[in-house]
Symmetry: C2
Subunit: 355 residues, 2 copies
């Protein structure tokens, strides 16, 4: 039975990326060694990382004022690494609190400086993005989560602010054309739209670094990674290679314009189907709905469990909502085919008709 | 031409591990999904990480007072994470300075507390392990690097100390039977004897944690990872799976006893050959020579370059010494076959006879 992978991350990858990655483990580019066995300072790997960096810049359409880093530890590591590098003890960092991850990022910053919550949709149970924020002009930065994986909301238009803008783009990076150059620092775990778990991307404008007075551990100072071209210590070689394969695939398929088009097509189909079936309830404000993660509910919990069970029986993986939210979550990342959303919608209609 | 992979890390892996890893990328255990596409909280992956943890304990022969963690960021991250978790501002951590990595670990600890250099072989150009160390009894711990990858030295017998003993075992973990329970905290990057780059192992006695007063960022506090069973955030799923495959291979081949036997056989052959050929000079104190990384020189630099070139022509990868040391380095990790060392020794003899 064909599997439909709606996982929220790690998640579905393009079949050709999987085939290339599998082959590279047996023999990388015909050199007689596995990608897992080559040195990270070999010309073989230096070419991999340089091409990956260059593709990131090309897809983002950003200039040489930005540095591209491949680091470890996931976005959760960035929650603390960002304020450690940018926020002095008496400085204030502003955060938009529109979901559990943004909330965690703000809490982590409290270890390093002052935190101002610029806006929050917490009182609305995170069912929307609160876009009426207020940011003190002295803020060192404003941090937003561009897509809330858990709650199913997404920023569709970005704010203009006078201070550096920082985006956690873990769950929607490379899924659409946006003005990346509005941001001064972007970070994202790879395991949704950019590859496999084990690496995270950091794109940073050099000129915002170097202003804090604290001593930063060597491995956590962005400047050291910039200076060492992401080869400060042994990087996650294979995870970076899978990211390169995925970036190549995105470019070959038509780049971010095409990804955005496909994404909109899948999301429109999903939301219009759910909205047309009274058994399902999507509480997310229409203008803020995520094109990556659709979160919705069946009020009757028994019925909801039956539906989740039916999904499983039909080879649909990962449709159970996040543990703290419950309900149903359908993640529709770049590599998810429209046919999987169609299969889900057919099943949802069939279930609704029967119940 | 068959490649002989003498890389210092990332390095050679068992062929069957590569085949299993390659297959799992196409289809993991016949579930119809790639190992790169499964959720880290799925029962599929929880079984992987639990088996890996259990194999670590079995191979180390350690009890339930130890916790096994799979973290990210490499040993370099541990250089700061260890003192961050164990050393208060006024505490002293003692370090044995027998190579560049131990030296870096000590420097990183200076950011968190006081550092006492218990012994150093720096004045001997790191050509031996200085075993006459002095450790103030008030030291919070003694840190040693069990194998110095760059310089080619190794601790063959471990000291008895009254304070917690911490071992950076990045380049010789699982290569021999040792009394792991002499250590209170062990860490190691996976990319030498335990798998591919992208994950590091931390084995820690719970009871040494929780005594520092500083606030530790969530992701850097060992206790949070213990509580979350290494699933605090998305772990490097594939790198942990390759570690599991490698641990299974070690057990199947006969465990650490067999690894130690093979390792000794390879090292004895290598060192006896080099010592018998006057053109080569191994300056490392005989009793401290590493069974993992043999470091030696040809005095005439032109001749040395010719030899390195000859190695390359004969499919021998990674025999050039570390950039700061120069010379020749032959790394002989678990997965390196004796036949590769034999091939190297034959070439060395042939070269010596001709020159």
């Amino acid at each position: 039975m064909k599997k439909h992978n709606f996982n929220s991350g790690p998640s579905v990858l393009p079949q050709e990326v999987l085939q290339q990655a599998s082959q590279a483990i047996l023999d990388f580019n015909g050199i007689g060694l596995s990608i897992l066995e080559i040195g990270h300072r070999s010309s073989w790997f230096v070419e991999v990382i340089e091409e990956a960096k260059s593709l990131v810049k090309e897809l983002m359409n950003i200039g040489q004022e930005y540095e591209v880093l491949f680091l470890q530890g996931g976005a959760t590591t960035q929650f603390m690494q960002v304020p450690m590098n940018l926020l002095d003890t008496n400085d204030t960092g502003s955060y938009c609190d529109d979901g559990v991850w943004g909330n965690k990022a703000a809490k982590e910053a409290l270890l390093f400086g002052k935190v101002h919550i610029a806006a929050s949709s917490r009182d609305k149970n995170y069912t929307c993005i609160n876009k009426s924020f207020d940011v003190p002009s002295s803020s060192k930065y404003l941090h937003i989560t561009t897509n809330n994986t858990v709650e199913g909301t997404q920023w569709h238009k970005f704010p203009n602010v006078s201070m550096p803008l920082i985006g956690d783009m873990s769950s929607d990076i490379f899924s659409r054309e946006i003005a990346f150059d509005k941001f001064d620092l972007i970070y994202a775990g790879a395991q949704k739209n950019m590859g496999a778990a084990g690496v995270n991307l950091v794109v940073v404008k050099k000129d915002i670094l170097g202003y804090v007075t604290r001593k930063i551990p060597t491995i956590l100072d962005y400047r050291n990674h910039i200076e060492a071209n992401s080869l400060l210590n042994t990087p996650p070689v294979f995870a970076i290679y899978v990211a390169l394969l995925t970036l190549r695939w995105i470019k070959k398929e038509g780049g971010l314009k095409e990804m955005g088009k496909r994404s909109l097509q899948k999301a429109n189909l999903l939301y219009s189907t759910i909205d047309s079936l009274p058994i399902f309830n999507c509480p997310i404000a229409k203008e803020d709905r995520s094109n990556m993660n659709a979160v919705f509910f069946i009020e009757d919990e028994n019925l909801q469990n039956n539906f989740l069970e039916l999904c499983k029986e039909n080879g649909m993986i990962g449709v159970k909502g996040y543990r703290t939210v419950g309900g149903i979550r359908v993640s529709m990342y770049n590599a998810l085919e429209l046919s999987s959303v169609e299969a889900f919608c057919d099943l949802a209609k069939e279930f609704a008709n029967k119940n």
